[in-house]
């Protein structure tokens, strides 16, 4: 399996979620709600796995433990994100004062 290229948009097969790959330095598959995400919107959506439906929030960034992958949610949905079988966490960010 090859790595995702930054800028790639991925669509959930189980919900309305869409994410953009910000960084990817490892091989693995991005999934949402237990189903692989793909580069084209799914024609028929399956149901998210009930245990994998914590949801993704618009504008939040998600990373794996090793920080080898970073995704930005550009459309929210109900599924939970994972990479190479590992659940992704919302990236902790420091709130900065506006500088522009």
């Amino acid at each position: 399996m090859s790595q995702y290229r930054p800028g790639t948009r991925l669509y959930s097969a189980v919900c309305a979620a869409e994410v953009m790959v910000i960084k990817c330095a490892a091989e693995g598959e991005v999934a949402c709600g237990g189903h692989p995400m793909s580069t084209a919107p799914a024609a028929d959506k399956s149901e998210p796995d009930a245990a994998l439906a914590e949801g993704v929030l618009m504008g939040k960034r998600y990373t794996d433990e090793a920080d080898s992958l970073e995704l930005l949610c550009v459309k929210p949905g109900q599924g939970s994100l994972s990479f190479a079988g590992e659940a992704l966490k919302e990236k902790a960010t420091k709130k900065l004062p506006s500088s522009d």
Partner: protein, 490 residues
């Protein structure tokens, strides 16, 4: 990765919210996306390769910026104060170009196409437009102001600007009542980053195309402005317009960010005094770094201002600490990395750093970009700048940075503004020249000023040549044109 995604996200999250206002032109985020989509169709069918913008700030700037991004064409804002001759040489470097403007240029260029600013403001479509994905496409090309030579064409790719925004701005973090007043011109990096940051934060922007302090203060009150970005010269004019005892009378104003040039400490001190309830942020950044790389935040400002500890107090003259996504290093002339408090050249690294011109890439393979700014980092991580590395005066083998002499002279009550430059000297190689603007109604006393510098710095840093001038030459964004000051000494 494309900056148009930022607008799409904002338009999806709050389509009805006010996005941009300039005089009578107003756009919601939804309307802005529709106008940008129409513009993209127009741009794409033009057969041009660049979208230039020649005019003052207006909602047509974000429309053209995002429209160009959707059409995957570089957006090139041009300085509308330039002469036709200067513009001709820039336009010839972006041929064939579609120029969004309300004027006609006095020259012909291959493939030059015009689009009216008014036309862009009136266009609207709800047809969807697929956002291109290539993160390496050029989003914005900015011609540098050319304080030292011919303007360079700095390239910012979608990945740089996109990384900067998502790592420094929280999506939709602005409240519905927030409004930002911007008065930086569209051809400046701060003009571009102000658009992107506010869109992603969901913050309404009120544009003031031609800054003057009175209009600025009136707009703050009329438009219930909550935050603003200014360059140092603007803040100096704003605070001198306000009577200290009467106060600023800007009850809605919560935050002012400043940057784009060196802030004189007396100006920020006075600003803290006349705006006791405003949170100040100093932002240091360059065109080549997609705007801000270091921040001195509101807490730092208040702490420094109220502290008796000189180490903390002096932070008012610092540009703060690097953003979480940015690394900073100080290096000497041989490229060796220096420790705390040692002066050298500032290097930066991070996903937002482009360090690339159309003519050449100046960022190293390891990602480090030499800013050409001279400075140091203290043991607490605060960055202090002392000027441009190219401006350092070498007097008899000793390096003198103009900033340190300027700071000392600015403390003298007779000095309103000052520029220190190197003057060719047979004896020293370079001697120190001071161009000084005197405070109102004060007579210049060269010897008193020399004694003032001598008492605070070494005698080798005392200006040999002093000229009293009415004003110093600045670009409209507050950048000192040191080469012009220098020329006056020769």
């Amino acid at each position: 990765m494309n900056i148009a995604t930022l607008l799409q996200m904002a338009a999806e999250a709050c389509p009805e919210r006010g996005a941009f206002k300039c005089a009578d032109d107003e756009f919601t985020f939804g309307e802005l996306l529709h106008a940008a989509t129409s513009a993209a169709m127009r741009f794409r069918s033009s057969q041009c390769q660049y979208v230039a913008y020649l005019g003052e700030a207006s909602p047509a700037v974000p429309i053209a910026l995002f429209g160009a991004a959707l059409a995957e064409m570089p957006f090139v804002p041009l300085n509308y104060r330039l002469s036709d001759g200067e513009l001709e040489s820039l336009v010839s470097r972006i041929s064939p170009a579609l120029v969004v403007t309300d004027r006609r240029l006095g020259f012909q260029a291959d493939g030059l196409v015009y689009a009216d600013i008014k036309e862009l403001l009136a266009a609207d479509t709800e047809d969807p437009f697929e956002v291109p994905l290539d993160p390496d496409a050029v989003a914005v090309q900015l011609f540098t102001s050319g304080t030292t030579g011919a303007p360079k064409a700095a390239l910012l790719r979608h990945s740089h600007l996109f990384s900067y925004i998502i790592s420094s701005v929280e999506f939709m973090s602005a409240g519905e009542d927030e409004a930002q007043l911007t008065s930086v011109p569209p051809y400046h990096i701060a003009g571009i980053s102000a658009i992107l940051s506010s869109v992603y934060a969901g913050r309404r922007v009120v544009q003031l195309p031609n800054f003057d302090a009175r209009t600025w203060l009136r707009l703050v009150s009329d438009e219930a402005i909550t935050s603003a970005f200014v360059v140092p010269t603007m803040l100096a004019r704003i605070v001198s317009e306000i009577d200290v005892d009467a106060g600023a009378n800007c009850p809605t104003l919560q935050a002012i960010a400043y940057g784009g040039g060196k802030m004189p400490v007396p100006v920020i001190e006075r600003a803290l005094e006349v705006f006791p309830n405003v949170a100040f942020t100093n932002a240091y950044g360059l065109t080549e770094t997609s705007s801000t790389v270091c921040l001195l935040g509101p807490e730092d400002h208040r702490q420094a201002w109220t502290s008796d500890d000189p180490q903390v107090r002096r932070r008012l003259g610092s540009v703060g600490r690097p953003l979480p996504s940015i690394e900073i290093e100080i290096r000497d002339e041989t490229g060796r990395s220096l420790g705390p408090n040692a002066s050298g050249e500032v290097y930066v690294r991070g996903p937002q750093v482009s360090g690339e011109y159309r003519e050449k890439r100046v960022v190293g393979d390891d990602g480090w970009f030499a800013t050409r700014d001279a400075g140091m980092v203290d043991e607490d991580g605060y960055v202090y700048l002392s000027g441009r590395a190219d401006d350092v005066i070498v007097r008899g083998g000793e390096n003198v940075s103009p900033g340190e002499v300027e700071d000392v002279l600015l403390e003298h009550p007779s000095v309103a503004d000052v520029a220190i430059v190197g003057v060719p000297s047979k004896e020293w190689g370079e001697a120190i020249g001071a161009a000084i603007v005197l405070a109102d109604g004060v007579a210049g006393d060269e010897e008193a000023l020399r004694a003032h510098v001598k008492a605070r710095l070494r005698s080798s840093k005392v200006p040999e040549y002093i000229r009293f001038v009415r004003e110093l030459p600045y670009t409209e964004t507050g950048k000192l044109l040191r080469r012009l000051v220098k020329a006056d000494f020769q």
